[in-house]
């Protein structure tokens, strides 16, 4: 069931077009990430959904209700900002109860709800403290509890983890995810961190320069990027200039690669670019009988802990550099080091062609 429906959302600041004709529908209970580089319009889109900015054109429906021009107070959402925006002069309990007090509920009921929420975000009993007495991660949990207190139908998260340390960030994002599952609240999170988006989202909306490039599950977006931008923005990728030979075959250097079925569209003779991820190769075991075997020399190794990224000069590609990833074990087993010569096979079934 569609919970939130955006149609033809456009936003211009003077002559600058921040958003162009955004269409998007979000299902009830879904966790959606708006992902893109800074300035792509993702935060503007979130603020338009919140009513903190007004779109130049286009409509927004939430649960069938037209909220396009309603002020924030008449919409139904809770919001968490990167800066936490906790009221520093109020205790944690007063912060969490901020939206409840206004509803004229009995005091005991509010206190119980506050404690329940604090337990939910893993900080029971911290109600008497002031925000300044908490760490960044704890403050963001309180901000989350405050946003959830009034049981909103929609939770908006504006880069909630960006101000936190790497370790806290990974920890908290898992908690946000499990909390969201538990409560089933439809959630939109804005982030510029692709790893964060892929680990947390049901679907990712990849944005660039005011347009949506692709909407899909994290796996979709990674494996089948719809545009060159998505392919290059998410994960690492090798871009190889090539010529189409028709019927899904391409010539790159001295190699002839057979792409997967969707590559048929490129007519013979067209100049194209082949996108191949560093892990899309076979390097272990018997390579006999496998297509697209190549030899190359390792020219540089970037060590990443559990894996490494080797830059290789491939003979069949006339020395064109190719990034290839190896696990730590493969690194040892295959002897990956600068100057080593290795044989491997490219997985042309993984090719994306643009």
């Amino acid at each position: 069931m569609t919970y939130l429906q955006l149609q033809g959302i456009r936003k211009s600041f003077g002559s600058f077009q921040a958003l162009r004709d955004i269409d998007l529908s979000i299902e009830k209970g879904e966790f959606v990430c708006f992902l893109g580089p800074s300035g792509c319009g993702k935060t503007t889109l979130l603020r338009i959904i919140a009513g903190l900015e007004t779109q130049t054109a286009g409509s927004i429906h939430q649960s069938e209700r037209d909220i396009s021009v309603l002020p924030p107070a008449q919409r139904d959402y809770g919001i968490v900002f990167q800066s936490y925006a906790l009221f520093p002069n109020l205790t944690v309990a007063d912060n969490v109860a901020y939206g409840l007090v206004n509803r004229k509920q009995p005091r005991a009921e509010i206190a119980a709800r506050v404690e329940e929420l604090l337990k939910l975000v893993g900080l029971p009993g911290s109600g008497v403290k002031y925000p300044a007495q908490l760490s960044g991660g704890q403050q963001q949990r309180i901000a989350l509890a405050r946003a959830l207190a009034t049981k909103p139908g929609l939770l908006l998260l504006d880069e909630p983890l960006s101000a936190l340390d790497a370790i806290v960030r990974v920890h908290l994002r898992a908690e946000i995810r499990s909390l969201q599952r538990q409560l089933g609240v439809t959630t939109i999170m804005v982030t510029h961190d692709q790893e964060e988006a892929m680990s947390i989202a049901d679907r990712i909306v990849v944005m660039n320069q005011g347009v949506i490039e692709q909407v899909g599950t994290p796996q979709d977006v990674y494996e089948c990027p719809a545009t060159p931008f998505v392919a290059e923005f998410i994960g690492k990728v090798n871009v190889l200039p090539a010529h189409a030979l028709g019927q899904g075959r391409f010539r790159v250097g001295r190699l002839e690669l057979q792409g997967a079925a969707h590559c048929d569209a490129h007519v013979a003779g067209a100049s194209v670019h082949l996108y191949l991820r560093p892990e899309d190769r076979v390097a272990e075991g018997a390579l006999e009988g496998i297509a697209n075997r190549v030899w190359g020399e390792v020219s540089n190794v970037e060590f990443l802990g559990g894996s490494c990224l080797a830059q290789m000069r491939i003979d069949e590609l006339d020395g064109q550099p190719l990034l290839v990833s190896f696990s730590l074990n493969q690194m040892h087993d295959l002897g990956v080091r600068v100057g080593a010569r290795l044989e491997m096979a490219l997985r042309s079934d993984r090719l994306r062609v643009f």
Binding site: T54, P72, A73, F87, P88, Y98, G99, N102, K129
Partner: protein, 573 residues
């Protein structure tokens, strides 16, 4: 079919306003209305008056040409310019030395020296002129000294220059202390590592770093002297200046047209100051990065001793100025009977109406502090933290900055022209205390406004967004969050309004009636009537009152900090 399709004209969507937004809009409109009526229109009426003849007919620039043809008025213009220049040239290096001693040496008694040097801010500016007369006037105790220096008399230019130096010194000092304390220690460490001489460090790091402060202080000093009215009135004798001319033309001769012309001339340096200040403040922002390391002076016995001596000398001069006024206010019959008495206070309180005037001053100051703080803070909040009415916001910003560029004398002049006009429905306000309060609020609006805006900008910009998402109206958040956090700022603004309202003369001198005369004006009247002792007593009363209130505000601030700012003193785990 044409190749170019006409673009469809898109009307941007507009969000429906919530009823709480409408309250904010109404409040913002009220602030704009107040600033237009009590600032823009009075100023506009000066402009109009300057282009009209006595019967109200438009005469173009005739008033200006006839002004320029009048040799006596031209000589006033020349007097004002060179006196202001002279004071600026004398005060600036003196204040720079003092500020340098406070921020760059390890001299003892820094806090005390600073306090003494800033004391004149608590007194009406003409206190120094009164003291000078007691020191060097016709019956002054050190009259011979001034004659030995080759001056025939203290009255006129010499007295004005010396008195203005004292009055302007603390203003320049405050700016320069700020400029000099914003130093990045890393620059000096780098210079030391390169073996740079002290002299070279001063000219290549210190002076360029304080450049904007120096320009700003010079402009402020020049404008203050140019537009000051009290000192030339008391000690100027027959030495005419623009500020005293305005008063004579408007109050004495009822020549409103020429008064308006002189008023506009006085506006010029202030507007120039305002523009230059605005231009340099835009450049200055990037000077000190967040990573700068604050400069800490290290002990240097000879230099520190020199600096101590210098500050002692200046402080002694300041105290001599204040002390003489205090002493004179207690002296029975200057200079013949110097036995101490309270009669200037007791008799003046009743006979010379110092009592009524002092009570009026307190009313004016309290009213200005109370209503001024409310208006300024509300205006700043509506401007910075609410949404909608985007056309109006630049107007509010401009109107809030404008008072900085308008000398009090010019503002007061505008008030006469505007509120005393027979057709004005607000005519009834003329010469009443509420109008004096409003005029004083407007006169000192900008500093209060900037203080409030700075405090509000330091708050998270998303408080209002969060409140809206929780369906809490903005005024509730204003009351529960914004106000409590900003209480110390509110106290600062209130204190600033109070002190300035106690000591101001220039704006209110045009607007008082016998029943609303304030103490600072009473000094002028007493001085004119030859009641020097009572005049000194009145000036000392104002100073004592301001000092007491400052101390009260400090105590209140301490109490408020303990009561409402507990959350600031908590430690992060």
């Amino acid at each position: 079919m044409s190749a170019v399709l006409p673009l469809p004209t898109v009307v941007a969507l507009r969000q429906r306003a919530h009823w709480t937004d409408r309250i904010a809009h109404a409040a913002l409109l009220l602030v704009v209305l107040a600033l237009v009526v009590f600032l823009a229109l009075p100023l506009a009426s000066i402009l109009v008056k300057s282009l009209q003849n006595g019967e109200g007919a438009f005469v173009g620039l005739a008033n200006f040409t006839s002004y320029l043809a009048s040799p006596s008025l031209l000589s006033s213009l020349w007097h004002s310019v060179w006196v202001s220049l002279m004071v600026t040239l004398v005060t600036l290096p003196l204040a720079f030395g003092f500020a340098y001693a406070l921020s760059r040496s390890c001299m003892p008694f820094k806090g005390l020296s600073r306090t003494i040097a800033l004391v004149p801010l608590l007194a009406p500016s003409l206190l120094s002129a009164l003291s000078l007369i007691y020191w060097f006037g016709n019956q002054g105790i050190a009259r011979g000294f001034i004659q030995a220096l080759g001056f025939e008399t203290i009255y006129g230019a010499p007295g004005i220059v010396i008195a203005e130096c004292f009055a302007v010194f603390p203003h320049a000092l405050m700016i320069l202390i700020t400029a000099l304390s914003l130093a990045d220690a890393r620059l000096y460490e780098a210079a030391n590592a390169l073996g740079t001489s002290t002299r070279r460090k001063f000219f290549t790091i210190t002076l360029p770093g304080a450049k904007y402060g120096l320009i700003s202080a010079a402009l402020v000093a020049f404008t203050l002297v140019m537009t000051d009215f009290g000192i030339p009135k008391v000690i100027g004798g027959n030495f005419n200046m623009l500020a005293t001319d305005v008063f004579k033309l408007v109050i004495g001769q009822q020549d409103f047209q020429r008064g308006a012309v002189v008023g506009l001339l006085l506006l010029l340096p202030a507007v120039l100051t305002f523009v230059v200040d605005w231009l340099i403040s835009r450049k200055q922002t990037s000077m000190l990065s967040a990573r700068a390391v604050p400069y800490r002076p290290s002990p240097a016995p000879v230099f520190d001793a020199l600096m101590t001596g210098y500050t002692l000398l200046i402080s002694a001069l300041m105290l001599a100025m204040l002390g003489m006024a205090v002493f004179a206010s207690f002296a029975s019959f200057w200079p013949y009977d110097l036995s101490l008495t309270l009669k200037h206070y007791t008799m003046g309180w009743v006979d010379a109406e110092i009592g009524d005037a002092f009570v009026n001053s307190l009313k004016l100051a309290a009213g200005t502090a109370f209503f001024g703080t409310i208006i300024v803070f509300t205006g700043a909040y509506m401007l910075e933290k609410t949404r909608g009415l985007d056309v109006l916001r630049p107007v509010v910003r401009l109107l809030a900055m404008l008072p900085m560029a308008v000398p009090g004398l010019v503002l007061g002049l505008g008030y006469i022209f505007f509120f005393n006009a027979p057709g004005n429905p607000l005519n009834g306000l003329y010469q009443t205390l509420p109008l004096l309060v409003l005029c004083t609020i407007v006169h000192f609006y900008t500093t209060g406004h900037l203080t409030a805006v700075t405090a509000l900008k330091a708050l998270d910009a998303e408080f209002e967004s969060v409140s809206a998402s929780l369906k809490v109206p903005f005024f509730k958040t204003f009351w529960r969050v914004t106000l409590p956090i900003c209480t110390p700022t509110l106290l600062d603004i209130a204190r600033y309004f109070f002190i300035n309202a106690m000591t101001t003369i220039s704006a209110v001198v045009f607007l008082y009636s016998p029943s609303t005369k304030v103490a600072a004006i009473a000094i002028l009247n007493l001085d004119e009537a030859g009641e020097a002792g009572a005049a000194a007593a009145c000036a000392i009363l104002i100073t004592a009152g301001s000092t007491l209130v400052t101390l009260l505000f400090i105590a209140l601030g301490w109490w408020v900090n303990r009561r409402t700012q507990a959350w600031r003193n908590t430690t992060t785990p």
